[in-house]
Symmetry: C2
Subunit: 340 residues, 2 copies
Amino acid sequence: MIIDCHGHYTTAPKEIEAYRQKQIAELKESPGSRSKGTISISDDQIRESIDKAQLKLQRERGTDVTIFSPRAAGMGHHIGDATTSLHWSQVCNDLIHRVCTLFPQNFVGVCQLPQTPGVPPANCIPELERCVKEYGFIGCNLNPDPSGGYWKDPPLTDKWWYPIYEKLVELDVPAMIHVSMSCNPNFHTTGGHYINGDTTAFMQLITGDLFKDFPGLKFIIPHGGGAVPYHWGRYRGIAQDLKKPLLKDHLLNNVFFDTCVYHQPGIDLLFKVIPADNILFASEMVGAVRGIDPETGNYYDDTKRYVEALALSPENRQKVFEGNARRVYSRLKNKIPAGR
Amino acid sequence: MIIDCHGHYTTAPKEIEAYRQKQIAELKESPGSRSKGTISISDDQIRESIDKAQLKLQRERGTDVTIFSPRAAGMGHHIGDATTSLHWSQVCNDLIHRVCTLFPQNFVGVCQLPQTPGVPPANCIPELERCVKEYGFIGCNLNPDPSGGYWKDPPLTDKWWYPIYEKLVELDVPAMIHVSMSCNPNFHTTGGHYINGDTTAFMQLITGDLFKDFPGLKFIIPHGGGAVPYHWGRYRGIAQDLKKPLLKDHLLNNVFFDTCVYHQPGIDLLFKVIPADNILFASEMVGAVRGIDPETGNYYDDTKRYVEALALSPENRQKVFEGNARRVYSRLKNKIPAGR
């Protein structure tokens, strides 16, 4: 079985964007007057939006299950306030639940959190619990920069984040560390902010000792870990200068990387420096890059081809395509039993 | 000859730090009362600070010339105002000039610019001209984020920067795009902010068309290009989605990467995806990582070893170690004649 741990509902029906635009327009009114409102999308609309996109790509590329979350760039935590984020997250997560209910063999849910800049992330706990307990979601996306490119909240190692970590550990669900859209003109969202967010988060974890306090906490750093594997020597060296343990002991019991790296040399490097136990297959489809690479004739984000071109042992191949995802997302077995 | 294009005076005598602290203390006084002041460092102090550090490493590692600039983390453009930055830059650049005068065979100067957040970078032109024309410096460090981690000024493709680009082209000197210290607790300076700065700058250049306006402008992206070579497929794919030309045509006539990547697999990747014409040898010594890699027994930043382990043709080897630096830093020949 091939599990893709990083897919977003980037192809959702246009009603979701209309809802969001209405919500943003209503921000100009007084907070008291805002209601969550409703959104009308039929099952057929959802089926069509998935069938011709993510499901089509699953079939064509030969993957089985996608761990699926709302569009990351669309989380937009910097917009409005905590009420805005809560309503928007509930609507987005409900929609993911409907996808997973309509296609229970193909999609398993991961939730967006109702984060807001300057608001303690503890306020995300009810929505996290709702999604895990009521919907059977198996993880969440945690935005290390709800300000959208101005990095105003404390780093991930700060106690600011501890209440949500306690809940993640209690529920035994991992968080993918994933920023949202950039509203800073310096950062292109998918080419600058996403990659910087990954790099930044990992370096924060090096400087702290977060996993001493939370040995059961699990983070996935997407996009192949940002710049981290390419600069693995730099990070080992900085950790050493900071008198931290070896990175494998300091972080690699808790931190995992996905394979969203869109060319063979990048994937080769990832597997050369990061242990196979810490790599989860992913493609981020339908996502940041949608074209066909003229150098290969294949989609840039068809990452399965790159992984299959590696000389992996059968054991490591199984780990990367399935076993690690089952270990990190321990609740996955409730939705997709092993050996299906 | 082996030219290292990226070295900072990180070992300067302690008087320079005392000067800076006094300058910062004086910021509390009214701007009118501030004077540039003086700094007293003897030639012997400079000789000693270099001889036992950068020069010792040159000898031990077998490199010949270092293109040398003030400590990048020390630029601290976010501190004080334009007067603060001007005085500080002049003092730092004067010190680099003294190093280069004392060791004319080993060090060639690159200047710090007196940038200040919110102040048009055109105000850096006099200091750039002073360093190039009076001191014979061959380039400058350009900080894409003078705010030190809050990214408040316009992206590098904005006309905000055009006056300094015009002067760079007129003088025919390149800029290394190099951030300074991070004052944002989210970003570790050398492990987060530096690498993000590199990635961010390259992605800004993808989205713009800067080199149509400045075909003679040359940028060096340090630290192996941040995350860029590792995600070369992503960047090629994003450029394609944005209807930009192939990266080799869009950027690689003007953008160069250094080899400050501190492990063999990273260097292998860099040379696999980036043409040899666009790679300049560098070690960033004495810099971000100062330890010995227990996996190799050598210094992490002894990048010459990694480059020498590659199967480069003699022609490409000469380009990377010398020829590209001479091409990009065209004024280098005035200081270090070819065939010395």
